[in-house]
Amino acid sequence: MAANPMSQFDVYRIGPEIKVGAFDISFTNASLFMILSTVSILLIFNLGSKKNSILPNKIQLLAELSYTFVSKMISDTAGSKAKPYFAFIFSLFMFVLFCNMFGMIPYTFTVTSHIIVTFVLAAFIFIGVTVIGFIKHGFGYLKLFVPSGVPAVLLPLIVIIEIISYLSRPISLSVRLFANMMAGHTMMKVFGGFVISLGIVGGWLPLSFSVALTGLEILVAFLQAYVFAILTCIYLNDALNLHH
């Protein structure tokens, strides 16, 4: 009667199996929603940047507000040195936001609810930030693990903790987004299942929960994209402006 709440995360092949060497790169529903997200982002921002009127129309206003929102977020957290990475963080924020929001539409697939996707993004950010840090500061970047003003006795312990926390960044970054998305959608599915199984008599309570959860999940979808982008900015800030 009620479908498995995890079945919404199933990835399945659309069209034929494509293999490159030993790797299966078939077009799946995940690929479909990645393409949908990127195409809608490009469409909206292309429309929003086409005309340059002094009084912007709605779509232009949307594009420009997003631009200034992300640009302010970057300059607030990582300073003016992070300007060259604006395009990447903007793309990242928009990609995660659109993938999350597409997932809110019933019968769609949430790309960001898969650990492999968020982990690849987080790992790319982690490697990129580390490379930038070493380019900017050389081996001085290792000072990041040695906070100033720590008693010498505690220093070895602190350094170990710092290294572990640094290395766990990609994991925490990816798991945060993936777990939030998965938990939210699973919960919605479970409550949706309750509506069906309790029927016309008892279904109203889980239905109202489901409605409330939808609002909450839209908020979470935005918030997690924001958190993902702002954490990237903070990591970038560590690499660009060494504080320790």
Binding site: T38, L42, I116, V120
Partner: protein, 196 residues
């Protein structure tokens, strides 16, 4: 009765859900590595293309639009400021012209007044002179009249007295003797009448 059915249905439905979930439960599809490579490949492809298009084509345009709007607004503000300054200067100029013309009008008025006063003075002088000369003439006439008056009075007195005497006495009286008497009398009384 209805209440009882309601709660029973809720109670039983939980059993159904439990069974349904138990029957269909599998693992997390996220941990099934079957499509990991495909997802990584499509992620890199779509994200990469989107990043390239956004960073090379769209974002520069948006920033350009924002900049041009900013600069245009600043330009407009500057132009407005300039126009305000211009209008201020023109207002000053206008005020100056007005005050200048006021001064001019005042001076013209003063000049005209002075001229009028001068004219009036000149005319008055002429009139005064005329009046003076007329007065002098009149005085002369009066003097002449005054001088002639005693002689005429004497003559009248002589004639009157001679006629009187003729009527009273019936004889002709020598005029010369009468005139001598009248002259004598008038000389004596002349001071009393005329106050000379």
């Amino acid at each position: 009765m209805v209440k009882k059915i309601y709660f029973q249905s809720i109670f039983f439905s939980f059993f159904f859900i439990k069974e349904a979930f138990a029957a269909e439960s599998g693992g997390m599809p996220q941990l099934n590595p079957e499509f990991w490579v495909s997802q990584i490949f499509w992620l890199i492809l779509t994200f990469g293309i989107m990043y390239l298009v956004l960073s090379k084509l769209i974002l520069p345009k948006i920033s350009n639009n924002l900049e041009s709007r900013k600069s245009q607004i600043l330009e407009n503000i500057e132009a407005a400021e300039k126009q305000r300054e211009d209008s201020d200067a023109k207002l000053k100029e206008y005020d100056e012209i007005i005050s200048k013309s006021k001064d001019e009008a005042n001076s013209i008025f003063n000049q005209a007044r002075e001229k009028a006063l001068k004219d009036i003075g000149a005319k008055r002088e002429v009139l005064d002179k005329q009046i003076d000369s007329e007065i002098a003439e009149a005085e002369k006439e009066i003097d002449a009249l005054r001088k002639n008056a005693p002689d005429k009075i004497n003559k009248i007195a002589i004639e009157t007295s001679s006629e009187l005497l003729q009527k009273l006495i019936g004889a002709e009286v020598n005029n010369s003797s009468i005139s001598a008497i009248v002259d004598d009398l008038s000389k004596r009384n002349g001071d009393k009448y005329y106050g000379n």
